[in-house]
Structures are given as structure tokens and as C-alpha cells.
């Protein structure tokens, strides 16, 4: 491993628990079930258990940031770039500006834009994919998390004839999973504090669909800030060898939490 490539970065490891969450990819054309984003099975046979990708985690934190900043009375970017509809109805709520508007010349960039970016500026953070597999599956590989996956069938019938009005299913999962957020650039203390507090605020919002029907409840179990040194190189046979060293940064986390919101 003499000619290896190393990368140093910081990351947040967040452990989350959920009783029921529906982060679907939308129903397929002609289908009745709103499925999670299917990634196929481990060996391609379909017998070992199907892999799914949990969508919408970045958007969830994005909305948590907006709600948190509004509560503190700080103006940040909205998730949308639009101000009004084609008919002229205003859709931008009070306390926000359109996404990326603050990055224009002569304006002060808001803290959310610094972290999440927009069409004008790339983001500072990257969300790692959360890939889940059924807890019943016997074969798993590294990086895949085991949770309970099932389908909730909903069938509404007419009173007299008992014919189906609505007949559809929604795929959900429940259990513990880990979310990893990588910093592509070194964050300032204020940015780190804002992100940490947004993660702590996120359970107040629902994750995924049907949050008003009891789905999408979450509980943050653990948040750790880590310093990672990842190296990658080739062996003599040409195989890629990857090594990772981690160190927890508890002190920096505390400093970050104290740095936001700024004291006027």
C-alpha cells in the first residue's frame, strides 16, 4: 500500500429508530403498491431478500433546518426557488427567501445555503445511501442494514355491494438504521451547530409519507462527529484494498452546539 490515495474528512453518524416509515418511490405504472426504491437482491436470484434504498432523508433534514431557523427568527433559503404561481398567487412563506437568492452579490449568504447549497453553489454535505434489507434475510453484506419490511394493504369497500373503491398497498419499514452525513469541506462551528440542531429537531417533522396518519415518527438515538482517514490502494494482484481510521470528536461537537444560534 505504498501508492495509496488518502482522504481526510469529517462525518456525522446518526442512529435513528422508527416504528413505521413510508419513504416510497411512488407507485409503478399500472401498479397498486407504493414501493420503496428497489435495488434488487444480493445475488440476483430474489430469494436472498430484496434490497431497498431509503429516500428523502436529505429533504427531511432540509425541512428541519427551515423549521428550526424560523423558530429562531432567522431568515434562511426556502426549499423552492419559486415566489409565486403562474396565476400570481404568492407561495413563498414569510421568514424565507427563494433558494439561492442570498448568494447574489451584495447580499449576506444564509447559513442554510452555506451547508446545503443550491443550483448556483454545490453543497457542503453529502448523504450516504441508507440501504435496507429484511430482517428475515439470511445473507447480508457490509453496509446493508437489516430492518423489518412489510406492506400495509388498504382496501375501502362500498357499503352495499362491497366493491372495492380503493385497493392499494404501501410498503413500510421499521427498526433502527444509521445515517451518515459526510462533510465535503471543513465546516465552521456555526454550520456544525446548525446541522446538529436540525438533526435533533427533525423528529418533530414526519419522515416520508402519511405523517398525519401516524407514520414517519422517529427517535434520534445517537449522534457522533468523527474524523475519518480513508486510504485506498492496490495489492500485487491488482485487488483494491481499503482502510479506514476513525476518531470521535466530542469536544468539537459541544463547541458547535454552543456556537448556534449566534448571540446578538
Amino acid at each position: 500500500m505504498n501508492d495509496s490515495i488518502t482522504r481526510k474528512f469529517k462525518r456525522l453518524v446518526v442512529k435513528i429508530e422508527t416504528p413505521i416509515t413510508k419513504t416510497g418511490n411512488g407507485p409503478a405504472v399500472g401498479g397498486k403498491v407504493n414501493n420503496l426504491l428497489l435495488l434488487g437482491s444480493e445475488n440476483g436470484n430474489g430469494k436472498e431478500g430484496k434490497k431497498y434504498l431509503v429516500k428523502g432523508l436529505r429533504g427531511w433534514i432540509n425541512h428541519a433546518m427551515m423549521a428550526l431557523a424560523k423558530g429562531e427568527g432567522i431568515e434562511v433559503c426556502h426549499s423552492s426557488e419559486k415566489i409565486e404561481t403562474q396565476k400570481g398567487e404568492r407561495i413563498l412563506p414569510e421568514g424565507f427567501h427563494p433558494a439561492g437568492k442570498c448568494s447574489e452579490e451584495g447580499k449576506e449568504e444564509c447559513i442554510k445555503h452555506k451547508l446545503m447549497g443550491s443550483f448556483r453553489k454545490p453543497s457542503k454535505i453529502r448523504f450516504e445511501p441508507v440501504i435496507i434489507i429484511s430482517s428475515q434475510a439470511k445473507i447480508t453484506s457490509e453496509g446493508i442494514q437489516q430492518v423489518h419490511i412489510a406492506t400495509e394493504n388498504r382496501n375501502a369497500l362500498t357499503y352495499h355491494t362491497k366493491e372495492a373503491i380503493q385497493d392499494f398497498g404501501e410498503r413500510y419499514f421499521s427498526g433502527e438504521f444509521t445515517l451518515i452525513i459526510e462533510f465535503l469541506e471543513e465546516p465552521s462551528k456555526g454550520e456544525l451547530g446548525f446541522l446538529l440542531k436540525a438533526i435533533l429537531y427533525a423528529p418533530e417533522l414526519g419522515l416520508g409519507a402519511a405523517s398525519n396518519n401516524g407514520a414517519g415518527k422517529t427517535k434520534i438515538l445517537e449522534v457522533v462527529l468523527q474524523q475519518v482517514e480513508r486510504s485506498r490502494g492496490f495489492t500485487k494482484e491488482g485487488k483494491v484494498l481499503e482502510e479506514e481510521r476513525t476518531r470521535n470528536l466530542w469536544k468539537e461537537m459541544q463547541e458547535g452546539l454552543a456556537a448556534w444560534p449566534p448571540v446578538a
Binding site: 501508492d3 490515495i5 482522504r7 418511490n25 411512488g26 407507485p27 409503478a28 405504472v29 399500472g30 426504491l37 428497489l38 435495488l39 434488487g40 434504498l53 429516500k55 432523508l57 436529505r58 453543497s123 454535505i125 453529502r126 448523504f127 450516504e128 445511501p129 441508507v130 440501504i131 453496509g143 485506498r232 490502494g233 492496490f234 494482484e237 491488482g238 485487488k239 483494491v240 481499503e242
Partner: protein
Amino acid sequence: MATSSMNKCFRLIGRTISPIVHTTHQFFIKGCKVTITREPEENEKGYLPYPRKTHYGKLVKREQKAPTVKNCYQGFVVVDLPGTNNQAQKKLDWFLQLETLGGHINEGMGKIAWIERKEITPSKKIPKEKKMVIQKGLGYYPKPMLTAIKALLLHDFVHTEKHDSKVYHEVKISSPFIREACKNHHNGEYLNNWLIPIIKKYDGLASFLNRRIPRREERRYDYENGIIDCKAVAEEIERRQENVYELYNYIYYNKTFSRFYETIDYANNKLRKHLLLAVNLLINDFKKGKIEVEDNKIVKVSIPTTEKEEETKKFLSGSKVLKRIYPSKKGLVRPKIEQTNFQGLTVQSETARKKDREKRLAME
């Protein structure tokens, strides 16, 4: 050995952890070809197999697909770097530090894990088969082929046991041989006419390939868009029947004719496409060598079952096709033409007379 080492190049292989959002499964980065495949090795034909395709985004019934839904691919990632020199090594290192590819990477898509590096020699690829294209105009073909083409173009304009003429009015076909074939192409009888099995085969094949969704209509053309003078159309075809090229062009280009349906049950299909497809299938088979011209007839070439698969894969080269159209006259035994005088005696040539004289002198 020197040339083989020159052709060698690096290949970096990886595995997708989450699907790569991209418009295509093949693209270039820094002059290196990146391919997302199902397996990291080439198949028998020398191509990397097509990857598993999924959709990222909401698929809603009866709503427009793009731009809310994006294509994404998963499987293996193969990066082919040109050569094995220092520049290629630098590019290899750059690719090795990559952790994601494609779009939506900040949302968790396009994550990859590199597996290994290889030194390979690029394998030869078998050229892909050409798709059959309906020709704009007919080329030159032998006389029996032109007869068969004419019969295929005219076979739906006569009353048969199964259906009436598809332009309502029957076209009077001047050639009795073609007329007989067209009239009986739905029968089981072959009547010692070599055209009937050909019309039967290519008519059936063209309708099989074209028919997908049935739609029943009462008339044989789109009546809502105006009435067509069917008698005039029949007369037009009748007038052009002597020249195959003219008839083909009329069917190809005429806008009024293109409004006719293939059948009443399959009104989505047009008669124009059915006729042109049948003719082009015949031409395609002739070019591939599946049919041949023998004794002023078109005959099916019998191929042994073992060679059949290999034979159908290959397209004949341009020169071989030309040889089929213009067969060489070498080695042909021409029948002797004997001239007769008025008394019924044969007239010998001067050279033959000389030879006879010499023989007699030698005998004496």
C-alpha cells in the same frame, strides 16, 4: 509481442452500492470509457452486457414520465483507460479516489466501491446486425424476383375466398400467372404455381410482425377525413402494374393510398406498411441468401440445422449480393444452335469441314 504490449490497457472494475443516475449506461470521463454493466466481463460477441435499469423518482399512472423520473443503472462499473503509460496511471489514480458517479450524489445515489485493476488486451467485437429498413426505392433484381415483388404488391387488390379487395374495387391483373397466385394465396392448393407459397409466407409474416393491438372499424379507410374515390385508386394501380418500380413508388409515396387500413379488425395498421414490409422481407431474405433463383423460379435454400444459426447471424457482403444478382457466365454449357437449310439438311461450319477433309486424307 511488441504489438501486443502496445495494445494493452488498464481496466478498473467497481461495483455499484446505490444506482447511478445517468441518461445512458455508457459515457466518457477524462477520455476514458465508463460502462455500467451486469457483469464485468465481455460476452461471446465481445460486448459488456446491459445493466439492470431502475427509475428514480415518482412514477404516476397516466402522467408524463420526464423530467420527474430519471433513469438509473446498477451492476458493475468498468473503466477502460487508454494504454498503460504514466498518463494512464495518473488517470487510474484519479478514478480510484472517486466515490460517486452520475447525478443526485448528495442524496445518496451513485455510490461505488472499486474492486480491482486489470491489464487487458481489447477483444474484437462482432459487428451488430443491421436493422431491416423499408427501402425508398427498389434496386435491380433478377426477373423472377421482380415477378414475386409484383405479386406481393398486388396480392391484396383481388377478391379471394377470405376477403374482398382492400380498395373495394378489384384490380384486373394482366399476367394470368400472377393473377392465379393472388387469387389462391389463401387456399390450401398450390396449383403448380411457385408464387403461391411465396405470397403465403411473406403475407403472413408481414401481418404477424405488424399486428399488435386490434381495433375494429366499419370501413377500410379513415372515412372521417374525407371520401376516397376507390375506383380511381384501383385504376391507378392497374395502370402501373406493368412497371414494378412505378408501382412500388406509388405505394410508397401516395398519400391517399396510405389512408387504407390493412384489415377492418386491425385498423391501427396501414395497408401501405403491410405491402412494403412483405416486399422488403423478401428482398432481405434474398440478400441473406435464404432464397435463390433457379430455373426462372425462386427456391428456398435448404441449410442443415447445425449451420442454420451461424448462417442467419451473418449478413452477406456487398460483392456476394452482387454475385447473386449477376451470376457469372463461366462454365455455362450453351446448347448448340444448329442451322438448317431449306431441304432440312444441317449446315456445318467451315472449320468442321476442314477437319473432316484432313481425317479422310489421313485414312487414305
